[in-house]
């Protein structure tokens, strides 16, 4: 399993997508902060300090992950299936569950790298355009810089869980799909619809799309344990169902390319 993960990571670092995604993140951050005027009625953001940028733009990080995760898995699962390279490890003494497990583990590494890069890039670009500032603005108040950094790191670490659940959802599509474009487009279409459903109060708390944006708010700045438990429980349920489905389908999948 570790050797399989090593192979997946080697491929990840040798392809260009990791670096392209990083460049896209920086470009979008610059586009958003270039000419940004705090309090401008045309923008929803109100922060004034560069150190507040990562914590207050987490919806942007979620939107990046909505797009990057299907591309990552579309390539790693569906495209490899289509190109015939998925069968290379399967012609070795490797169980299919081990291979899919390695791909999910590499997704986790990918998500962690992307999240870490986003935080670093948001601090850097934010500070460049707005200056560091003397505190982190969040939820209508200002906290000290160390506390702001702690909250930021906690928020992004928490968001990794819903990102991974979304990854499992995309994996279920990728395992069934015959083409990379089908995987990406169907994941994006379903996610766009789901994000729009966030406005419907009865549905929103049950939606993984909602959790991708708001999961961390159950924990920070102060934890609401009842809400946190409920949200985590919902995600755990999705994780169990999607993982079970994906592994079962992958075990049965016929390698026709």
């Amino acid at each position: 399993m570790m050797n399989l993960l090593g192979n997946e990571l080697y491929k990840l670092f040798r392809t260009r997508k990791l670096y392209v995604f990083a460049a896209i993140m920086i470009a979008i951050l610059i586009l958003n902060l270039y000419g940004y005027v705090p309090g401008d009625s045309m923008v929803v953001w109100t922060f004034r300090h560069g150190q507040s940028v990562p914590l207050n733009t987490l919806d942007l990080l979620s939107q990046f992950m909505v797009i990057f995760i299907p591309i990552f898995l579309g390539d790693s699962v569906t495209n490899e299936y289509r190109r015939g390279t998925l069968k290379l490890p399967l012609l070795r003494p490797v169980r299919r569950s081990e291979l899919l497990g390695a791909k999910l583990a590499s997704l986790f590494v990918f998500v962690v790298i992307m999240v870490a890069f986003y935080v670093a890039a948001a601090y850097a670009v934010g500070t460049y355009y707005l200056g560091w500032g003397d505190g982190t603005e969040y939820a209508g108040s200002i906290v000290s810089s160390p506390e702001g950094i702690r909250l930021t790191l906690a928020a992004v670490a928490l968001l990794i869980l819903p990102f991974m659940i979304y990854g499992l959802f995309v994996t279920a599509i990728a395992v069934l799909a015959g083409s990379m474009s089908f995987t990406i487009i169907s994941a994006l279409v379903i996610m766009t619809v789901a994000l729009n459903l966030n406005a419907v109060e009865a549905v929103a708390p049950w939606s993984p799309a909602y959790q991708m944006v708001y999961y961390h708010e159950a924990f920070i700045p102060e934890p609401d344990w009842s809400l946190a438990l409920k949200r985590t429980g919902i995600l755990a349920l999705y994780a169990a169902i999607l993982a079970l489905f994906s592994f079962r389908m992958f075990r049965k999948k016929e390698m026709l390319y």
Partner: protein, 259 residues
């Protein structure tokens, strides 16, 4: 008789010794349908240690489907594949450890070098070292191009890289699906000579599917002919040649498939 066949036959081992030994590869009543159509129908094949077995049939007769089942890439509706007596269905990891294979076209990560591709595969087979990677690249004549990206390789080079990949863990059995398909005459000759060299020098058993009869006659000591998913005949080339003075595989093939 061609010298190449003699080389293969001279080490033709167990199949020459009779049918009492355990086959290295055996299918038992292998059957597979797609969308209600039987592609492979009650297939029983026996490949003995030391054979260079030619699996012959026109395109669309079930050769690749059979090979996919032999390597566990697709699953039979019924029947089983035994490798060294081990059921592929019941103990996949132990059974597949004896096999190296190229199924259809040799697919590799084209943004990696030939060496990198094999190094990744070496990670998945216990005991395969980096020096073994270099060794197999030298065996197939790719030592000088090992550091080039696979996207710069010709089809013949990719086939040779596929054979190198199949050789990595020193399997007893190598399964090749149309290994000379799409190659120019020079490429076909290189692959043929490589297979014969490995069969005689490394004592590797080969199971090769093809519709190229002349190629198969030059390489194989044993053949099976498949049509509409059914095995029409299976036999030892030397025994078949003894029975007919003007034996040719082409003649045998057309007589068998016509009837």
């Amino acid at each position: 008789m061609l010298a190449a066949v003699e080389i293969a036959r001279s080490k033709g081992g167990a199949s020459m010794a009779g049918n009492q030994a355990t086959p290295l590869l055996e299918t038992r009543h292998l059957t597979k349908s797609f969308r209600g159509r039987k592609i492979v129908d009650d297939l029983n094949i026996r490949v003995m240690k030391g054979d260079v077995y030619g699996f012959l049939g026109r395109n669309g007769q079930g050769k690749t489907t059979t090979i996919r089942m032999l390597t566990g890439l697709i699953f039979p509706d019924s029947g089983d594949v035994l490798i060294n007596g081990i059921s592929l269905r019941k103990d996949f990891k132990r059974a597949i450890a004896h096999v190296g294979a190229i199924v259809e076209t040799p697919a590799f990560h084209d943004y990696l070098t030939g060496y990198e591709n094999l190094a990744l595969m070496a990670n998945l087979a216990p005991g395969v070292t980096k020096s073994r990677v270099r060794e197999v690249l030298d065996i197939v004549g790719l030592g000088g191009r090992a550091r080039d990206k696979v996207k710069t390789y010709s089809l013949g080079m990719k086939q040779r890289l596929g054979i190198a990949n199949a050789l990595l863990h020193e399997p007893e059995l190598i399964v090749l699906d149309e290994p000379t398909n799409g190659l120019d005459p020079q490429g076909m000759r290189e692959i043929r000579e490589l297979i014969l060299r490995l069969a005689s020098g490394k004592n590797i058993t080969f199971f090769i599917s093809s519709h190229l009869l002349h190629e198969m006659q030059e390489m194989c000591n044993r053949i099976g002919i498949i049509q509409n998913g059914r095995l029409l005949m299976e036999g030892d080339m030397r025994e078949l040649a003894v029975k007919a003075d003007d034996f040719s595989l082409e003649k045998l093939y057309f007589e068998t498939t016509r009837s």
